[in-house]
């Protein structure tokens, strides 16, 4: 689905007075108005695209305030944007408006190892922070696949995590405080510089995951974690996903929490077998990649403990990498998957549902059934330790009949997930693409309160309108 094609944008030009106020706020060099310049800021890593009416680059908080105030005066949407690596269209300006790019707010303002914290601007990439923290022996746990390009601001906007979340949590667990600009252009400071604090309501975590609809984050106080001394990598292969999922439950019930517990289903394994050089046992119906980190002393015992939990009914093999090359070889299997999927279905639909760990087998079986019913091939892999499953529907978006079947299939996927006490998104967020399904998961009262909260932060509805929450219904008692 494309919201617009490559032809010139259809939105009317912005009011001249607003353009002048944007220019005054950020300077001529930081304002893009020509169609060709604006174009690249209309899309993200979904297939959605709509060009903004203007693009501005801020370099400090006061500029963000000035931009928001200008847009508010003219009731023009303002869409905060990092590097556009999101997958849900959350930064696509489908209603026009001003894209506020934060990529030039890319300074690490403080790195304070004594207090295990960093203060960063939102445009710092995840990798840049890891590099800087790493020099002091620390890291910031959230590690989305796009870490090299994605920004901290984006990580916070979506509450994006990655494999390490199973041990170290998501951004909500690793952020101490925020500075943000609300929809009224006011400066909001939330949270603390400490790991405890109970003064007032928790607005920090309210902002995290709100996809730029409550405020535009301009500074974040992040909690750092000491780098582990060493790591062990294991690969376990199972005859079925049931067997693999039972192993996940066993692994998560013993005291060594892995720092990665990834899985792929039988179809993913088949693909790797056909499209890469990785070798895997025949008859593999499920595979787990497991990493354990910590102090070097005791790490072998920890890995053995995890390996023991991984073994059991239906386990075909458990391999422990002994050298750096062996680690690479084990991960090569997992890394072969994305290219294989791209070869087969370059425009696959990738969902990121979550279910309780013990429900993974029921989910996988249900997906199999849905795929058969709708004639869609489904490949699943993901973060098993969190029950966060990337469900890939291998479809050709140019085939209308297939896309219709895919829509019906997705509908079934979300019902299945919610029936298993799961959630329709674990780390990608809602944006535009999952918006129609949100009301199935959230109750009426929760949605109604979220809308009033949103209105408190952004009374004129200018902050990324039309994203995250479905339209409000009046449920006032």
């Amino acid at each position: 689905m494309a919201l617009s094609d490559a032809s010139p944008p259809t939105q009317p030009p912005l009011p001249e007075a607003l353009l002048r106020s944007l220019e005054a706020a950020v300077g001529t060099d930081n304002l893009l108005t020509r169609a060709a310049d604006r174009w690249p800021y209309g899309g993200d890593n979904s297939r959605l695209h709509a060009p903004p009416q203007a693009v501005v680059f801020a370099t400090h908080t006061e500029q963000v305030q000035a931009v928001v105030r200008g847009c508010r005066e003219h009731r023009v949407p303002v869409i905060a944007r990092g590097r556009g690596t999101g997958t849900t269209g959350a930064t696509v300006p489908d209603r026009g408006g001003v894209v506020l790019s934060l990529e030039r707010m890319d300074r690490i303002l403080e790195l304070d190892p004594d207090n295990r914290l960093a203060v960063v601007q939102p445009g710092v990439t995840n990798q840049a922070l890891q590099d800087a923290a790493g020099r002091h022996g620390f890291f910031w746990p959230p590690d989305p696949t796009s870490a090299a390009y994605c920004t901290i601001g984006g990580n916070l906007a979506y509450n994006s995590a990655g494999p390490r979340a199973v041990k170290y949590g998501t951004p909500r667990d690793n952020t101490l405080g925020l500075t943000a600009v609300t929809g009224r252009g006011q400066l909001l400071r939330t949270g603390v510089h400490t790991t405890k604090g109970v003064v007032g309501y928790d607005l920090t975590r309210l902002l995290i995951g709100s996809e730029g609809t409550l405020g535009i984050i301009t500074e974040a106080i992040l909690k750092l974690t000491p780098l582990p001394e060493d790591k062990r990598t294991l690969q376990a292969v199972y005859e079925s996903m049931d067997a693999a999922a039972q192993a996940v439950s066993r692994i998560m019930a013993q005291p060594v929490v892995p720092c990665a517990l990834e899985f792929m289903d039988g179809r993913a394994i088949e693909m790797i077998r056909h499209y890469s050089e990785a070798t895997l046992p025949a008859g593999a119906g499920g595979l787990l990649m497991i990493e354990v980190d910590g102090l070097a002393a005791g790490l072998d015992a920890a890995a053995e403990r995890v390996a023991a939990a991984a073994r059991g009914t239906g386990c075909l093999s458990v391999e422990l990498a002994r050298t750096g090359d062996e680690v690479k070889a084990l991960w090569a299997t997992r890394k072969a998957l994305s290219p294989a999927l791209r070869t087969i279905a370059p425009k696959k639909i990738n969902e990121d549902v979550v279910v309780p760990v013990s429900k993974i087998p029921a989910l996988i079986n249900g997906l199999e059934r849905l795929g058969t019913d709708h004639g869609i091939t489904i490949v699943s892999f993901g973060h098993a330790g969190n029950g966060n499953i990337h469900v890939n529907l291998l479809v050709d978006p140019d085939d209308a009949a297939q896309m219709k079947a895919a829509d019906a299939c997705l509908d079934g996927v979300f019902d299945l997930v919610l029936g298993l006490r799961g959630s329709i998104s674990g780390e990608h967020g809602i944006g535009l693409v999952k918006r129609p399904f949100v009301a199935r998961e959230l109750g009426e009262e929760a949605l109604s309160l979220m809308h009033t909260v949103r209105q408190s932060f952004d009374p004129d509805g200018i902050l990324n309108p039309g994203k995250g929450l479905p339209p409000a219904t009046d449920t006032t008692a």
Copy 2:
């Protein structure tokens, strides 16, 4: 300070219609109206007391809804209460109203080891949950000192933690979802049954720490953690608090995160020396109690790593307990402190400020100065790994001059803490007693938004009015 003395309450009786509706909601046996019956529900573990106009006991969520709706109709305050172990007067009905005791909602509804979660009613005590989870090899990390008596609902209302928070976090880090009744009597479900989920705003953590002002929690989905296999206990003694605090920073910067990192200052050590049998090196100006947990294999190495970090300039001794008796002997020192303090100053003022770890020496030095200036003896101890310091002002509340000096001193303590980028409460919360100081820590915009959020959840202001936030000021732009 007592809000009322033991004479009969001065509030007018509740409207007869409300009493009838409360009776209809919970039954005659669960409604207390006689002065002597209501009395015990007027206080908590602060020295504040004010009798409620009625006490009701709920046993299920629908009753809580009926009680809130009845109170809303008559604009009568409703104050949720667990076991009254709070220290800030947050459950003291100083404006009258109905105390809604949740102590009879004490069922563990689900214990699901496969998915590492428990679903509990709010009246379950912390200890009862630990016992039940322990039988499956799990625990719930928050561990306030009052664990044996305090309820999960109270732990959530205050975001109460304890020593283990340094490794395992606070209730906000260990809760997946909630069911709550809002001020409109509506049923609100927040969160998920999984460790990831980014659908909608994070109302779960917004409710946690809100002291019953946004909703009354009637069910909680808690995240469980596997019990560690073993533990090592160390005691390190320093010639000064500076030296001890520097050791805390060193300990927190290496990869073995202790599961307890407690400290006491020189004055606390002196007290223990005088009022208990514990032996401590002479000239001790600061002491750390450190615990490390995990897999038995590697734990000695982990303890040694921590011990190495604990050693350094100003360190007088580091002792590792080798047997259960030695562990008990080490903790005996720490446990001797509270009785010693009670002997000297039975009605001491106990604050629980937080500062960044590296600022602990500045805080301790500042406290020393403030104590001297105001003629007040201050004894400090607490959760050093989080920078969460229990500051005890040893005063006699019957001495008016001393209490005046204490007020001035406390004023200085909070200014000192905020100047060090700290927070005025780490785990006790605001309630009534810290309410006058909240606006010093929170910015105008944050406070204004908190008030609008509160109004969304409780439009008539009946949920624990007058607690947590200072009165609203109009800051609408």
